[in-house]
């Protein structure tokens, strides 16, 4: 269970004299459902909200608790519980090939080199991408890269997977494939998306606008509310 209590995130204005920029304000959430989607316009605060959950960003005031652990104070323990998937897998993959990248994630858990390599290969095989183990990450398709990034995150066996717009850079085939993979995960998955169909895969949808939670509830109803709000904003 993730809990956000009176969370506020503020960044200094780029120019002196301008007011500070509020990225999130007055956020109070209990995130317990197995699949939660976060939707909202560009710059609404979705990514900031998700980054708080794994300690990638810290709160200005308030508290983020992951199974009772403070994301700011117990960052290391929180990151072992919460895996994070970036929009662009190239930003996430640190090594040249998939197998090396997964081995890097496993370094802290498996000290024996041969066991580590074998485990990395096994994980890639489980995901159906064993054939790309030694290919350069730059030579993989977008879908394969995102699967490698996911495999790398899952290798540390997190209880929660947070994904920041994981399908944004994917074509339709890879998007459908990733949706299926996400649906099959045992972990709790919290993801942001601009694709309202993908949002409907969740059990709960949260709408962020201007750094505030403006809707939170059952997927169909919340997505319809958001679509209407956006249509109204365009007409205005």
């Amino acid at each position: 269970m993730i809990q956000l209590r009176d969370v506020r995130v503020v960044v200094p204005a780029p120019r002196q004299g301008d007011p500070d920029r509020v990225l999130l304000d007055d956020v109070n959430l209990d995130l317990g459902e197995r699949r939660i989607a976060v939707i909202g316009a560009n710059g609404s605060g979705k990514s900031t909200l998700l980054r708080l959950l794994n300690g990638l960003r810290t709160v200005t005031s308030g508290q983020v608790l992951v199974d009772g652990l403070d994301a700011d104070k117990d960052g290391k323990a929180v990151r072992q519980k919460v895996g994070f998937i970036f929009t662009d897998p190239l930003a996430q993959l640190l090594m040249s090939t998939p197998v090396e990248d997964i081995e890097l994630s496993l370094r802290g858990r498996i000290r024996d080199r041969k066991q580590r390599t074998a485990r990395a290969h096994a994980l890639l095989e489980e995901r159906g991408i064993g054939h790309v183990a030694h290919q350069s990450i730059y030579d993989l398709s977008g879908g394969e890269r995102q699967l490698v990034a996911l495999t790398s995150v899952l290798s540390i066996e997190p209880a929660i997977v947070v994904a920041d717009e994981p399908t944004t850079l994917l074509d339709l085939r890879n998007k459908l494939m990733l949706r299926r993979v996400f649906a099959e995960l045992e972990q709790q998955v919290i993801f942001s998306t601009h694709d309202l169909d993908v949002a409907l895969d969740a059990q709960r949808v949260i709408v962020v606008d201007g750094g505030r939670i403006i809707a939170d509830g059952e997927p169909r109803e919340t997505v319809d509310f958001y679509a209407r709000a956006m249509a109204d904003a365009v007409r205005a």
Binding site: L94, M95, S96, G108, R113, T117, Y138, D139, V153
Partner: protein, 206 residues
């Protein structure tokens, strides 16, 4: 293969003798072959070292295409160096200067094409254990070196991308248009890498 991957190449498992040689020995071999010609600065030293590196690579089962596939811009730069020296009638330097550079690249590829990053990390971590006495985490330093190696092809690719973008606008001779996006990309890359490390809890978990 894109410039992003080509300078140091990508390791693929093999069974040649270089693949079986311990990483430390390969480091020493790399230094033994690449360093002397720089100090001797004579055509025969460069030629001899080049021949030895090529023999080592070929006898380990690496194909000519794999050995020399490190991007056209490197070949372009080597040609530029040769022409520059020839214009000054420095005939020996026209061979030795680009030759030593080619030698350094091939010697580095001798290591990177036959050693996985995981092996490099393990070897570095072992070799840097002495740093523990000055309270520096050897794992962290080894990871830093591995990331540095990974960043070289990225930065080279970034410069090539910037050049392509400048060419598309007909301004490939504008140095600012070439360097500005490359520098911005480098900073963004460093930031993204930091975030990716942080997200995985590295290096403190390592």
């Amino acid at each position: 293969m894109s410039a992003h991957t080509s300078i140091l190449g990508v390791f693929e498992p093999g069974d040649g003798w270089l693949f079986r040689t311990p990483v430390g020995m390969k480091y020493l071999l790399l230094l033994a072959l690449a360093l002397p010609p720089i100090f001797i600065f004579s055509w025969w030293a460069t030629l001899a070292a080049l021949v030895l590196v090529l023999v080592a690579l070929l006898s380990s089962g690496l194909g000519v295409r794999k050995i020399f596939n490190f991007g056209t811009y490197i070949w372009f730069f080597l040609a530029l160096l040769t022409v520059y020296q020839l214009i000054g009638f420095r005939l020996e330097a026209a061979f030795v200067t680009p030759g030593n550079m080619l030698l350094a690249i091939l010697a580095a590829r001798m290591l990177t094409l036959t050693t996985s990053t995981a092996d490099l990390l393990d070897a570095l971590t072992r070799g840097l254990q002495v740093l523990k006495y000055v309270r520096i985490n050897p794992d962290g330093v080894a990871l830093m070196v591995a990331l540095m190696l990974r960043s070289i092809p990225f930065l080279a690719g970034s410069i090539e991308d910037a050049r392509a973008a400048a060419r598309a606008r007909g301004k490939e001779r504008n140095l600012a248009l070439l360097l500005t996006p490359a520098v911005v990309n480098a900073v963004a890359y460093a930031q993204r890498t930091g975030e990716a490390l942080h997200a995985r809890g590295l290096p403190e978990d390592g």
